[in-house]
Amino acid sequence: MAAAAAAFALPVTFGRLVSACSRSVLRASGPREASLWSASRRFSSQSASFPQGYVPKTSLSSPPWPEVVVPDPVEEARHHAEVVEKVNELIARGRYGRLFAVVHFASHQWKVTSEDLILIENKLDVACGERIRLEKVLLVGADDFTLLGRPLLGKDLVQVEATVIEKTESWPKINMRFKKRKNYKRKRIIVSPQTVLRINTIKIAPCLC
């Protein structure tokens, strides 16, 4: 409704503005005056050709946030299919160097490559020297592509192998509580078990869809 009212108000104001212009100009030269008159006629005749719902730009004509443009879904789908095909091709041909992965293990997330050492602050019921497969993989990446899991990647897609190298205890950590002037002093030494894992390999299989 506001837009319609604005459209109706437009030609009237325009006409008034243009006529004021032509009166204020002191009829300096003939050709200029003619062009001014023809311009005003052009502008006033085009008042009907404004698109429906046209609102002239003011400070309140559009919302203060930037306009959100979401790209066309069909084109997007095509683009996505292209990207997936390219990545599949790269994986199938083995055109990647060193792979890194983000693995969730022992309630921590580790960013890991091959030949990495990891120190875990608890005991695993695995003998030293045994191979382990780390299953919860959140992200795998190479130089040219990254595979993001939502939240995890499939077990048939990524395989991360590790070996248990040593099972030790931590250095003796001292836990002391002390309150001054109250004769309160407690000392406790905590030695927690630790495990060291060496990440052997990270492998990906080309079965993206």
């Binding site: 946030w65 959100v68 443009v69 979401v70 879904p73 997007e76 789908a77 996505h80 890194f100 983000v102 997330q109 580790w110 960013k111 959140l138 992200l139 990446g141 130089d143 990254t146 993001l148 899991g149 939502r150 939240p151 950590k173 001292i174 836990n175 002391m176 509580r177 002390f178 002093k185 000392k187």
Partner: protein, 149 residues
Amino acid sequence: MVFLSAQLWLRNRITDRYWRVQEVLKHARHFRGRKNRCYRLAVRAVTRAFVQCTRARRLKKRNLRTLWISRVTAASQEHGLKYPAFILNLIKCQVELNRKVLADLAIYEPKTFKSLAALAKRRRQEGFAAALGDGKEPEGIFSRVAQHL
């Protein structure tokens, strides 16, 4: 005859005072001043050191998290996003990377971080479109939620 004053000469005396003192002084050897030599001063300094060590172990977790957050903020600002928008939209896309890993990726894997920022930006715009469009347009592509059992 009963000798009653003989047992009064028996006293319990410490023989390993040297080792008890060394146990405390060994933790103070790297301190400054007389507290690395004199037992009386060293006891106080070592107690304070142990108590501050326990307190720092709890503060370390908070400080490291603040550090990661500031690093992720800086990296996402480089890509034109603010930290809350970045994290929120990553969570909405079901990408459950924690701040430690995000900070590491921002430092060592810039291309991956750039793609994460682009993902968050796109999800944010789809969120805006869904909120402003009043359900007439179809759902966004990146707003689809993968259902797990």
